[in-house]
Symmetry: C2
Subunit: 338 residues, 2 copies
């Protein structure tokens, strides 16, 4: 018998999650049955969408039940296999959640090639965040050479891929991030055409200066104050793929401030905007193979760079996740579990 | 010399327009020059978009200057022509605005065939409102057989065409209108699958009952309370063509009520909605000929019906326009000028 250390949802957060919303438990796992494997988690991905799963509100996926293991994408090693096509020692992309071990169906687990790219990239630039950037930008953003794009959380795994793919498509890429270190990284390492600190008291003015021809694509992954500065600068026929709203995740539904909806809605009308929510799964069948080919190529050519922020030990996951919601990470946030 | 009676914008409204925002004047017109025509207005169209033009705020078109003639689509008779292809007695679709006569360029004026359809329809079902319905529904709404559509102001020229075209496309059409007379008209005359009175205190519940499979297309031309009841019922991948927001036109930008933007924006994300503003001019080159052919055919076959609400005399225009913003008209609102 193998014991899995698990972090479960102890209670639903009201507003900002705290350590008290999580609890560590240990569970004895049964041996894998027919078609199953026993996995040992190597890396756990921490992502903003997990905040949504902690709430009971209906979203695009079912909430995590109180007392259940927190969900999450993982890279794992196969310790035992009774599934066809999987062998002891294989490294696979899995969805084991916040735990050290899992017994699960072998079907649907993708085997990773450690010689092609570090296996951790299957949770970042070559995984869900990278594909969110690729599919949302190409299918909804529809970039055209010479246009201007703005993306926030631009040093994160989605934003950094969005900006770099935009530049490959001939689009001027303007990144927004928090603090001088991240801003310098966007400009100097990733080659963004401009980078702006959203903590700058003159943020809105800086943004305006950075987009002399207005904004044609706003890749929305934050909402809040950045969105408020961006919308007045959107050009006629601008496209806004919406894949996340991290700034609003901890906010109730009717905060005590002026109703900004009429002005927002009116701008959609008067500028002929396209605002389109999406989850990357919508495009998987159609585009995932192209994505792996394109993205691996761009990484090999040095045209797409990525950065990981790795935390050691599953017990660090709650603290690291709370930091993610405040933008304290720098790059794709991973927990090295095994 | 011919004198034109004109209604000019006397001042910009704050909130709801009043009679004091308009002034009647008389202007002596010069004789038509080379390439020009002298027109006598037969019908003036009154439309919600005119509220936007009365404000100084930037929109998709320039505001009417204070002291200038109110803009508007018209059907006019040619009294004198120095323009090629136009003769005295021709009836044309023009953009003379709120006045009895105009000297203008002949180029671009469309000659109407009074034998094909009553000339007034060039301002309604066979004109801008009809084309707004046709292009927005087909290009942005992308109706699929068996889906459900909701449209408000459904007895108006845009809404009534939207619902009837939707039914031709095999879509369940639910119309929202104000008062029992309009609701009965939608159900009994136009053949909507369901019709609901937005003045019903249980409006939201009635709407929910009318869309057991949720809503796939919400053709947005009102905003406000109807939009608020519709959005929670939108299905994943629903489309929202936005062509007008009459309920919000008289509202300031930050009314003193809870901020509804985060909840609205979050719904776009979690339901993968497409919210797309548009002005019919975007689709004219691509679709206008098809529209005239299809719509004339549907009218001849009795599959699309229309209703006009005709007011007599240019001097009635301000009062009729104010009534339009309150939904007091019943059908396409026209002023018979000549």
């Amino acid at each position: 018998m193998v014991a899995s250390t698990q972090i479960v949802l102890a209670s639903r957060p009201e507003g900002v999650p705290t350590a008290a919303n999580f609890r560590t438990e240990s569970a004895e796992l049964p041996p894998p049955g027919d078609g199953q494997v026993l996995l040992r988690t190597l890396y756990l991905s921490l992502d903003p969408y997990m905040r949504g799963r902690m709430s009971a509100a209906k979203s695009y996926a079912a909430p995590v039940e109180v007392g259940a293991v927190m969900v999450g994408g993982t890279v794992s090693e196969v310790l035992e296999s009774r599934a066809p096509g999987l062998s002891k020692g294989d490294v696979v992309q899995s969805h084991s959640g916040w735990q050290t071990h899992q017994v699960t169906r072998g079907k649907g687990l993708r085997v990773l090639d450690p010689d092609r790219a570090p296996v951790s990239t299957a949770l970042g630039v070559l995984g869900m965040p990278g594909f969110t950037a690729y599919s949302g930008l190409l299918r909804i953003g529809r970039p055209a050479r010479g246009e201007t794009l703005v993306v926030a959380a631009a040093s994160g795994p989605v934003g950094s891929a969005v900006g770099q793919i935009a530049r490959i498509e001939g689009v001027r890429a303007v990144g927004v991030a928090g603090g001088p270190k991240k801003v310098a990284y966007l400009r100097d390492e990733l080659g963004f055409d401009a980078a702006i600190d959203h903590r700058d008291p003159d943020f809105a003015a800086r943004l305006r200066e950075a987009v002399p021809d207005g904004i044609d694509i706003y890749f929305e992954n934050v909402g809040g104050a950045v969105a408020e500065a961006v919308y007045p600068l959107l050009n006629t026929y601008a496209r806004v793929p919406v894949c996340g709203l991290i700034a609003d995740y901890n906010t109730g539904n009717a905060p005590e401030e002026p109703n900004r909806l009429p002005a927002f809605y009116s701008r959609i009308l008067t500028r002929s905007l396209t605002v389109r929510g999406f989850i990357q799964t919508e495009f998987v069948d159609e585009m995932y193979d192209d994505f792996l080919t394109d993205m691996s190529g761009w990484i090999a050519e040095g045209r797409v760079k990525y950065r990981e922020d790795v935390v050691d030990g599953l017990e660090q996951a709650p603290e690291a996740f709370m930091g993610l919601l405040e933008g304290r990470n720098f790059g794709k946030l991973l927990v090295r579990v095994g």
